[in-house]
C-alpha cells in the first residue's frame, strides 16, 4: 500500500494528466472516423463526377460496365468510368427491405412473447437462443444457405416451366432473392429482438397496471400500452438492423446469385426466384480489381454509398434511443 502512495499522487498519474491523455485518445478515435469518411469520398470522387446522377440510374449491363472500367485501368488507355448502378441499388433495396419487414414482424412478436407471455422456462430458453442466433458468423449462414437452402429452392420450389419461361433472360438456379431475404432475416431478427425486449422491459409498470385495472386483457394491454410506449426502442432496433442488413457483404455474396440483374416485380411472383447482387457483395466480388485506378474509384463510390446510408441509419437509431432515455423509459 505504502509503496504505491507516491506513484498515485506523483505527476505520472495526476488527474489533469490522465484527463488529457484520455482526451487525446478520444480525439484520435473521432479523427480516425473523420479521416475514413474523407478518404472514402475523395477516392470515390472520380466515379461520381464522371457519372453525375446517372450513377444511381439504370442503363446498360452493370457487370459489363464494371469489367470495362477494370480493363481500361489495365490497358493504359483513357480511363472509363461509365457506371449505372441501379440494378445493384434495386437489389439492395429489395433484399434489405424484404428482410427488415419480415424481421420486424417476427421480432416484435417474439419480443412480446419473451417479455410478457412466455412461461418462465420458455423465455429462459428463448433468450440464449436469440443471443446465439445473433452471434453466428455470417459466413456460416452463407455456407448453410449455399449448401442447404439454395439447392432446395432450385430443385423443389422453382418448377421447370418457370425456369424455361425466363431461360433467355436469366437462369434460375436457386441463388435468388428469396434465399437472400430468408437468411438475412435470420441474421437481423435476433438483433431486433434484443433491442425490443430491452425497450418493452423498461416500460413503466404503472402504465400497464393502469390499463389492466380498467379491465383490458393482458394481450391488448401489451400491444396498446407496452408496445406503444416502447416505440423508440422499436424504431432504434429496426433502424440498426437496417444498417446491418445494408452492410452485409459476405453472406449475400455467397447466396444472392452474384449477377448484376434487377429482379422485376412486373414478372409476377417468379421475381423472388431471380438472382441479383446488392452493393456490398459487389465490392467483395471485385476486390481483386482494386489495383486498377478507375475500378478502385468505382468500388470506393459503392463504399461511400454504403457508408453514408449505414451511418445515417445508425445515427437515427442512436437519436431514437436517446429520446427514449429522455422519457425515462430507458
Amino acid at each position: 500500500m505504502n509503496e504505491e502512495f507516491p506513484q498515485e499522487y506523483g505527476p505520472r498519474w495526476s488527474d489533469q494528466r490522465v484527463e488529457r491523455m484520455l482526451g487525446v485518445l478520444v480525439c484520435a478515435v473521432v479523427g480516425l472516423l473523420l479521416a475514413m469518411i474523407a478518404t472514402v469520398f475523395v477516392r470515390a470522387w472520380p466515379s461520381f463526377s464522371h457519372n453525375g446522377l446517372a450513377w444511381f440510374g439504370p442503363g446498360g449491363a452493370v457487370d459489363e460496365q464494371l469489367n470495362a472500367i477494370f480493363l481500361s485501368g489495365q490497358s493504359g488507355a483513357e480511363y472509363v468510368y461509365t457506371f449505372h448502378g441501379w440494378p445493384l441499388i434495386w437489389s439492395t433495396i429489395l433484399i434489405t427491405g424484404g428482410s427488415v419487414l419480415i424481421a420486424l414482424f417476427s421480432a416484435l412478436f417474439v419480443a412480446v412473447f419473451i417479455v410478457e407471455f412466455a412461461p418462465e422456462w420458455m423465455s429462459n430458453i428463448l433468450q440464449p437462443v436469440v443471443r446465439f442466433l445473433a452471434s453466428v458468423p455470417s459466413v456460416i449462414y452463407g455456407l448453410l444457405g449455399v449448401l442447404v437452402l439454395v439447392p432446395f429452392i432450385g430443385n423443389h420450389l422453382i418448377s421447370e416451366e418457370q425456369k424455361s419461361s425466363v431461360a433467355g433472360v436469366i437462369s434460375l438456379t436457386g441463388y435468388s432473392l428469396l434465399a437472400a431475404v430468408l437468411v438475412l432475416t435470420l441474421m437481423i431478427a435476433p438483433l431486433m429482438v434484443s433491442i425490443f425486449t430491452d425497450g418493452l422491459r423498461s416500460v413503466k409498470p404503472g402504465w400497464l397496471e393502469g390499463s389492466l385495472a380498467l379491465g383490458v386483457n393482458r394481450w391488448r394491454t401489451t400491444w396498446k400500452i407496452g408496445v406503444r410506449a416502447a416505440r423508440p426502442a422499436i424504431v432504434a432496433g429496426t433502424v440498426l438492423a437496417t444498417a446491418r442488413a445494408i452492410g452485409e457483404a459476405v453472406m449475400l455474396a455467397m447466396i444472392s446469385g452474384s449477377v448484376g440483374f434487377a429482379p422485376n416485380p412486373a414478372d409476377g411472383l417468379i421475381f423472388i426466384y431471380e438472382p441479383s447482387r446488392p452493393l456490398a457483395p459487389t465490392i467483395v466480388k471485385n476486390i481483386d480489381q482494386l489495383s486498377s485506378p478507375p475500378a478502385n474509384a468505382t468500388l470506393f463510390a459503392i463504399a461511400a454509398i454504403l457508408l453514408l446510408s449505414a451511418t445515417l441509419f445508425s445515427l437515427t437509431g442512436y437519436l431514437a434511443r436517446r429520446s427514449m432515455a429522455k422519457y425515462g423509459a430507458a
Partner: protein
C-alpha cells in the same frame, strides 16, 4: 428488471377469456418463438452432424495444400492459427482503447460537445459495414510510411498483413467494448466515488483502484462480445489478409514479425473459399471448418453467460 405484470404469479390471467383475434395473436407468438428455437437447434445439430462426420484431427494440424481431391488438399491448421492470431491482436488493440474511451465518457466527458461527438462517433463506427472498413484499410496500409507493417517490394507496399487486418478488426470490436464498459461504470452509484474522494483518492486513482475492478464483469463481457465479432468477420479478412490459404511470411523479418507482416488466412476465410461459391470448392472441409468456428462461438457465448451469472451472484449496488 422483470416486468411487474409477471410478479404476482397466481394472479396472472389466462387466455381463456380473450377475444378470438387476441388468442390467434398468442398462437403466432408461440409459433414464432418455437420457430426461433427450431432454427437454432437445426443449425447446431446440422453443423454438428456434418462436422463430426467430416472433421478429422489431422485437419487441425496440417496446413492447406494444392491437391486434386479433398483427400489430398490438407487441412486448415493455418486458418485456425490465423483466427487465433487475429483475435489476440485485434482485441488487445480494442480493449484498452475501448475501456479508455468509456472511462473518459463516463468519468470525465468535458467539454460536453466533445462527449456528444464521441458518443455519436462510436455509434457511427458500430454501424459502418466491415467491407467499408476493409477498403479504408487498404488505403491506410498501402501507405509507404506504413510499409514496415506488411510486405513491400520496390517501394510498392502490399498493405495486406495480420497487422492490417487486426487493426481494422479492432474497430469492429471497439463499440461493443465501449458500450459494455460504460454500462458497468454507470451502474456504480455516485456515493462509491464520493467515498473514495473523501479518503483523499484522486479521480484517476479512483478509476484505477475502485471503478475498473468493480466493473470487471462488464469489461469482460464487452471483450468477449467483441471477440465473437472479430472471429466471425469475413469481409475484412478477405480484403486485408491477402487471398491465400497459407501463411506467407515475409523473408527479411525476425521470427514473430515475419508471420505478422505476411499474408495469411482465418477460419472464416477458409469457409468462404471452401464453399461452392469460393475458389477451393471443398464443401466437406467447409463444413468441418464451420463446425470448429461454431464451437468457438458457442464457447464464447457460454463464457458470457457464466460471467453474467457470477456477477449477479455477487449482487448489485444498493442505491
Amino acid at each position: 428488471m422483470e416486468l411487474s405484470l409477471k410478479a404476482p404469479k397466481q394472479a396472472v390471467e389466462g387466455s381463456a377469456t380473450w377475444a378470438l383475434s387476441d388468442r390467434i395473436g398468442l398462437v403466432v407468438c408461440w409459433a414464432l418463438g418455437l420457430l426461433f428455437c427450431a432454427v437454432a437447434v437445426a443449425i447446431v445439430a446440422f453443423l454438428f452432424v456434418k462436422g463430426v462426420s467430416y472433421l478429422e484431427l489431422s485437419m487441425l494440424t496440417t496446413p492447406a495444400s494444392a491437391g486434386f481431391s479433398q483427400a489430398e488438399s490438407g487441412g486448415f491448421s493455418d486458418a485456425l492459427f490465423g483466427t487465433m492470431i487475429v483475435a489476440v491482436m485485434a482485441i488487445s488493440l480494442a480493449l484498452p482503447t475501448g475501456v479508455a474511451t468509456a472511462i473518459w465518457l463516463v468519468e470525465y466527458g468535458r467539454p460536453a460537445a466533445l462527449a456528444r461527438i464521441t458518443e455519436s462517433t462510436i455509434e457511427a463506427i458500430a454501424g459502418i459495414p466491415s467491407i467499408v472498413l476493409a477498403l479504408f484499410g487498404t488505403v491506410i496500409f498501402s501507405n509507404t510510411a506504413l510499409g514496415f507493417l506488411s510486405r513491400s517490394s520496390e517501394g510498392v507496399v502490399f498493405g495486406r498483413s495480420f497487422f492490417a487486418a487486426s487493426a481494422m478488426l479492432s474497430l469492429v470490436a471497439l463499440p461493443l467494448v465501449v458500450a459494455s464498459t460504460r454500462e458497468g461504470l454507470n451502474s456504480i452509484p455516485r456515493h462509491v466515488r464520493e467515498a473514495s474522494y473523501a479518503v483523499g483518492k484522486t479521480k484517476a486513482a479512483t478509476v484505477r483502484r475502485i471503478l475498473l475492478p468493480t466493473s470487471r464483469p462488464q469489461v469482460a463481457t464487452g471483450a468477449m462480445l467483441g471477440l465473437g465479432r472479430i472471429i466471425g468477420d469475413t469481409a475484412i479478412i478477405i480484403v486485408l489478409l491477402g487471398a491465400t490459404q497459407n501463411f506467407a511470411p515475409v523473408e527479411e523479418a525476425p521470427f514473430p514479425l515475419d508471420y505478422l507482416r505476411g499474408a495469411g488466412t482465418t477460419l472464416t476465410n477458409f469457409v468462404y473459399e471452401a464453399s461452392p461459391t469460393g475458389n477451393l470448392n471443398q464443401p466437406e472441409k467447409a463444413y468441418a471448418a464451420a463446425f470448429v468456428l461454431l464451437l468457438m462461438v458457442l464457447a464464447l457465448n457460454a463464457a458470457v453467460d457464466l460471467v453474467h451469472r457470477r456477477a449477479r451472484k455477487v449482487g448489485t449496488w444498493s442505491h
